[in-house]
């Protein structure tokens, strides 16, 4: 090969080098993360001129493709005239019983437990003592000056506190629906039926705690948590 004229030699070497570019690019694409928009070689109708859920639409002032219902209108099935079921209110007072739509059955309790674990456990903990992982981390963040950045965390209530125990189910329903103090509203995340299911499960947890703490009466909450007895028992029973 050494007696090849220079241009021919360079052309050969050039070809080899150029041929190496696609494989190198392919390997790079397959081994690294990339933030550039994905390449679609064959577009077909990958991106169609229509607006889907949560897409942006420049035609509207707020830039959203999804629209709010026209003011003063009610969608079918959204009237919510039954105040007991939809607001936990009977005769302008908190309801003390479950509405007829939600009979407390094992199925309802199972559903309630599942929803409680998803939406309540983060702050209130698996047994409802207010010792969830979010609470623990928020307290840790608040106590660390470098990470605090304006954190002002208020510890969530224990569902076993006497004032919560005294609350009628309708008031608990309202708390989940509209939030209370620093707790936010869960109206948009948990549907009405599931909110009642969660309350049924909260009542169940409260009953369990009442019987479990019968022998540890007089020991305050912080001590119990350190010893970890009722907490662990409840968690073991759930799992």
């Amino acid at each position: 090969m050494s007696n090849l004229p220079k241009p021919i030699l360079f052309a050969l070497l050039g070809t080899v080098v150029v041929a190496l570019i696609p494989p190198v690019l392919i390997v790079r694409m397959r081994t690294t993360k990339h933030s550039l928009p994905r390449i679609h070689w064959i577009q077909d109708m990958d991106n169609q001129g229509r607006f889907r859920a949560q897409h942006a639409n420049p035609m509207f002032a707020d830039g959203r493709a999804m629209r709010q219902p026209v003011a003063g209108t009610v969608a079918r099935g959204e009237l919510r005239a039954d105040t007991h079921y939809n607001h936990g209110v009977v005769a302008q007072a908190w309801a003390t019983t479950f509405p007829r739509q939600t009979r407390v059955t094992p199925d309802l309790l199972a559903r309630g437990q599942e929803r409680f674990v998803i939406y309540c456990t983060p702050c209130h903990g698996a047994s409802g003592y207010g010792d969830g992982l979010v609470n623990q981390r928020a307290l840790a963040v608040m106590g660390d000056p470098t990470r605090s950045k304006g954190t002002s965390w208020v510890e969530p209530k224990s569902i076993h506190d006497s004032d919560i125990l005294a609350q009628p189910v309708g008031q608990l329903f309202n708390t989940i629906t509209n939030g209370v103090r620093t707790m936010g509203s869960y109206e948009s995340r948990i549907n009405v039926h599931d909110r009642w299911a969660i309350i049924a499960y909260i009542r169940e947890l409260q009953k369990r705690e009442a019987s479990a703490s019968a022998d540890t009466r007089g020991v305050d909450r912080a001590d119990r948590k350190r010893v970890g007895e009722p907490d662990n028992q409840n968690e073991a029973r759930q799992s």
Binding site: M1, N3, L4, P5, I8, L12, A19, P22, P23, L25, I26, M29, R30, T32, K33, H34, S35, R38, I39, H40, W41, D44, M45, D46, N47, Q48, R50, R52, A53, Q54, A56, D62, G63, R64, E114, V117, I118, Y119, P122, L133, V134, R137, A138, V141, M142, R147, S148, K149, G150, T151, S152, W153, V154, T182, G184, S185, S188, R189, I190
Partner: protein, 230 residues
């Protein structure tokens, strides 16, 4: 009148083209190229056009550096805490600003990174989250149909709970979809493990358990065109 010789010019002895000596050295190169080129072309086309190459690893920059590793991993938030429509709707909705505010109305309120959140909250504008998993518009996909039938979040989205910045971990190509539609059993898990990202359907349960799910949930995924292209 001119003779042909006058038109074409005087006849000359034609110069014979002789390949130079060095061209002998090119012969092996040409043979090698002819052998290698088809293989090279096949490989480059196969891998270069593969959806795995183009889609996997897509990691767009988000307007707020939200970490799923902290929220879904360390804090153990269930996927449904934020993506609450996933069980009922086709789309697993991006949570509204209000959901973030459940905690961040109190936590790290002065954080520089959360400024867009407060802007959105006070002005009612949408945060422009960048979509990571995006099927072509001619594909119909329904989240609820899958999560209610024992297909876990992790099967398509990977270990989100370990990602600081979410990236696409599967190709989401048609072939990839069909792989599971033809043989769903290896991807089935109990319904209460659907959002458990650490659960491995192949490791954490027996083959009998998977077959039980297949029969118990009566899973017969369709492979017809109109299932997804409707």
């Amino acid at each position: 009148m001119r003779t042909p010789n006058e038109i074409d010019g005087p006849l000359e002895t034609p110069v014979r083209f002789v390949f130079p000596q060095w061209s002998n050295a090119l012969l092996p190169a040409v043979i090698v190229m002819m052998l290698v080129a088809p293989i090279y072309a096949a490989l480059v086309l196969t891998y270069g056009l593969s959806p795995v190459t183009h889609n996997v690893g897509y990691m767009p920059t988000q307007p707020i550096p939200f970490s799923h590793k902290i929220h879904a991993g360390e804090l153990g938030l269930d996927c449904r805490y934020c993506h609450n429509t996933v069980e009922d709707a086709a789309k697993a909705a991006i949570p509204p600003t209000q959901t973030c505010m459940t905690c961040h109305a109190q936590v790290q309120t002065q954080s520089e990174a959360l400024k867009p959140l407060w802007e959105s909250y006070s002005e009612g504008t949408a945060i422009r989250w960048q979509r990571v998993h995006d099927l072509p518009d001619f594909v119909y996909f329904n989240h609820s149909a899958h999560v209610e039938r024992g297909v876990g979040c992790a099967s398509c989205h990977g270990r989100i709970d370990q990602m600081d910045v979410v990236f696409q971990s599967e190709s989401l190509s048609m072939g990839w979809c069909l792989e599971c539609h033809r043989d769903p059993e290896p991807n089935l898990r109990p319904l209460d493990q659907v959002t458990n990202l650490a659960f491995d359907p192949l490791v954490d349960q027996s083959a009998e358990a998977r077959r039980g799910l297949l029969e118990g949930l009566r899973i017969t995924p369709s492979e017809g065109c109109s299932t997804c292209h409707r």
